[in-house]
């Protein structure tokens, strides 16, 4: 394909990505080094409400000649990052007499980072294992069962994440039937939403439930293409079932395991809907939730755009680091840049 044709074909898509992904990314980068504030002045106002009238000094935004609120933008360097990372507090925490990790867990960013990382890294092997186990089982199940199993398995995968999380929450919240069942089984009072770790377990469970079907379908499809010759050869060599799995099937699936891991890392690192669905914010927050929360207006109607931008950039740096090994592998698979295939 000639370069001109190529460019013409990819242009619309590229323009869309440049304008709506690359450009916002740059603007977020820029925003994270500035703070924009409304210019406020103290004015004397007489305010009346059902409890009486008061003449008081209040802060009010200054309006320009056009009636718009005057805003001032100033360069703050790394202040926004500092507000999130709080290097001074961290240094104090790890200096002699500091409180160490406990103090770190008090800072939102590290709290979110801790949860996001453990969430990602714990769900990853679980998703791969459950997916593989399902694929191997279905591969061995009756032909007539396979269709229904795939159909039912797809449901947790395609369901709206928020609603999936809610549907599990409704089973447990208060005296929900599963909590009641647990209480009956363990013969003690249980409050699953009273402490962080139980909510965290529920969130992990939800994510595995939601993503394992994806791994399953991918692995199942790949199992259909395992070379029968290789399996038979292994058999003749006297390989046991486990050895065949270890030396024939897993190597055949290896590229797909990398693929599923790549997609899962990308998605799990963005963990967000679970926090909303399980109302976990008092106990557990994730990096993406932190950005979302900063973008929500507070009780004075302000959005902390500057800090949100800094938080967004930090999240991005994190995901890039996390994916670097897998991206390098993809890079090598595609021939290190000499061609598209």
């Amino acid at each position: 394909m000639r370069r001109k044709t190529f460019v013409a074909f990819v242009a619309p898509s590229l323009v869309a990505m440049a304008a709506l992904i690359a450009l916002p990314l740059l603007s977020v980068l820029a925003q994270s080094f500035f703070v924009t504030t409304e210019v406020m002045e103290t004015v004397v106002q007489k305010n009346c409400d059902p409890f009486g009238c008061k003449t008081e000094e209040v802060l009010a935004p200054v309006r320009g000649d056009d009636g718009r609120i005057v805003r001032a933008t100033r360069w703050v360097g790394f202040d926004n990052y500092r507000a999130l990372l709080q290097p001074d507090t961290v240094a104090a925490a790890f200096a002699a007499g500091g409180r160490g990790w406990a103090a770190l867990a008090n800072i939102d960013f590290y709290r979110a980072l801790r949860f996001t990382l453990t969430f990602t890294l714990i769900t990853l092997p679980l998703v791969l294992l459950v997916g593989l186990a399902l694929a191997l089982s279905v591969n061995r199940a009756l032909q007539s069962l396979r269709g229904p199993v795939i159909f039912v398995s797809l449901l947790p995968f395609i369901i709206t994440p928020l609603i999936g999380a809610l549907s599990i929450r409704w089973l447990f919240i208060g005296d929900g039937i599963l909590t009641a069942a647990l209480e009956w089984f363990l013969e003690r009072d249980i409050a699953l939403f009273a402490q962080g770790w139980t909510i965290e377990v529920l969130m992990l469970f939800y994510r595995v439930w939601h993503v394992a079907p994806f791994a399953f379908v991918v692995f199942y499809a790949a199992l259909q293409t395992v070379s029968q010759d290789a399996l038979e050869a292994a058999l003749i060599d006297g390989a046991t079932r486990l050895q065949r799995l270890r030396y024939v099937i897993i190597p055949h699936l290896a590229p797909l395991i990398v693929f599923v891991a790549l997609i899962h890392l990308m998605d799990a690192y963005r963990v967000f809907e679970e926090i909303i669905g399980f109302s976990a914010q008092a106990h557990r927050i994730s990096l993406q939730w932190m950005t979302f929360d900063l973008l929500q207006p507070d009780d004075s109607g302000n959005r902390a755009i500057a800090r949100a931008s800094a938080s967004a950039m930090l999240t991005m740096v994190g995901v890039t680091l996390l994916l670097a090994p897998l991206l390098r592998r993809t890079w090598r698979d595609y021939g290190g840049g000499d061609s598209g295939r």
């Binding site: 074909f9 590229l14 449901l155 599923v260 993809t330």
Partner: protein
């Protein structure tokens, strides 16, 4: 000599096949493990969804009862709002069974309907036939079934020995659905969701197919770089992007506009779309378009006249995934839309926020089921395409 060799070979093969068959044959213990594991998974996968479906038909007292049997049979619901009779339950189960088995029936009918509609243009006839068997016929059947139930119930009331068949035994009410769809006008959100989803699918496929095709055919390092950068973009948390959109959107009056959200979601979806389409296009032999160009087609004509006609399955599959992304999105729509322009998924959190009574909570459950229903239909109709999409993305991309 030859024959002997052949025979020996055959014997050897037979022996191997037998060993192989025996070795692949599962031991009883393993078979039991596999079956138990699969059954446990099926229960786990379907239970939360089935359960919220059951809850949505009950009054709050029953829906949030700690005893599962109370939730299932809903005694309070039956007392206060009526319930299903054994006949109605039986017919409902029959309808569900029929719905699951609908595809073969539909395929047979579609042929007949298409025959009847032959004088019409091909595309129109196909669409009409599809609508008839997948929308109109089920609707007619459900209506007929409902009328049957009504008649049977009123008749059985006069047959003392069988009147238990016409007596409610399971609490059932549609009042929460009524409250959600009629009272709270959920259809507005449904329309918003439909518009945005349709827009996103349309835009991302339109700009994605050409790009996917070009990327599949190009051998330059530029193409490679585009794909790698797209992969990095695919990994971006969406909140990163929204923090970029929000200030200009609020300043320039794009906040709360559907078109803005469509473009945003379509762009966010581009990396995924072009990767998937590229692997579908790569499956189509390049000789096809080369031949077309030798015959004097321009590259675009070759793409449109020769490649696209064999590409529809791939486009449909990619479209399904765009659909899912747009339909399921919470973060972008929650931050960029509001009030009258809100879509279904973010509006469900409003149900939570407005829940000041137990009834509101069950209405939230009913809304959740309403949001899930189209997805359920989607899996039923497009299971094959979804699976092929997952596999395609995996094996090729």
């Amino acid at each position: 000599m030859m024959a002997t060799t052949a025979t020996t070979a055959t014997v050897a093969t037979t022996a191997t096949t037998a060993t192989v068959a025996r070795a692949f044959h599962l031991t009883t213990g393993l078979r039991v493990t596999v079956t138990v594991f699969l059954c446990a998974w099926l229960l786990l996968a379907a239970f939360p969804l089935l359960w919220i479906l059951v809850m949505s038909f009950k009054l709050p007292v029953d829906a949030f009862a700690p005893n599962p049997l109370t939730v299932l049979f809903g005694p309070q619901t039956q007392a206060a709002a009526g319930g299903l009779t054994p006949i109605a339950a039986l017919v409902t189960v029959a309808c569900i069974w029929l719905a699951v088995r609908w595809r073969p029936v539909a395929r047979a009918w579609r042929g007949t309907v298409a025959q009847v509609l032959k004088p019409l243009p091909r595309m129109l006839a196909a669409t009409l036939a599809w609508l008839t068997v997948f929308i109109a016929a089920p609707l007619v059947l459900v209506t007929v079934a409902w009328m049957l139930v009504q008649t049977a119930e009123s008749l059985l009331a006069f047959a003392p020995a069988f009147d238990w068949l016409a007596r409610p035994f399971i609490g059932f009410t549609l009042q929460h659905y009524h409250a959600v769809w009629v009272g709270n006008e959920f259809y507005r959100q449904f329309i918003n969701s439909a518009l945005i989803t349709f827009g996103v699918v349309l835009v991302s496929l339109t700009i994605g197919t050409t790009a996917g095709y070009a990327l599949a055919r190009a051998r330059s390092s530029l193409a490679f770089w585009i794909l790698i950068i797209a992969l990095v973009f695919r990994a971006l948390p969406h909140s990163v992007l929204v923090s970029g959109y929000l200030p200009p959107f609020i300043d320039y009056g794009l906040y709360g506009k559907h078109i803005a959200v469509v473009i945003v979601l379509a762009a966010i979806n581009q990396p995924f779309t072009i990767w998937m389409l590229r692997s579908f296009f790569a499956n189509i032999p390049a000789e096809l378009d080369e031949a077309a160009m030798v015959d004097g087609c321009s590259p675009f004509q070759a793409f449109w006249r020769v490649i696209m006609p064999v590409m529809w399955p791939g486009v449909i599959t990619t479209g399904l995934f765009s659909f899912l992304l747009a339909y399921n999105d919470y973060l972008v729509t929650a931050l960029l839309l509001d009030g009258p322009s809100m879509t279904m998924v973010p509006s469900i959190t409003q149900y939570f926020n407005r829940e000041t009574t137990m009834t509101d909570q069950v209405e939230a459950v009913a809304a959740a089921v309403s949001i899930t229903a189209p997805l359920f239909l989607l899996v039923m109709i497009f299971q094959k395409q979804l699976v092929s999409g997952l596999v395609q993305g995996a094996v090729k991309g």
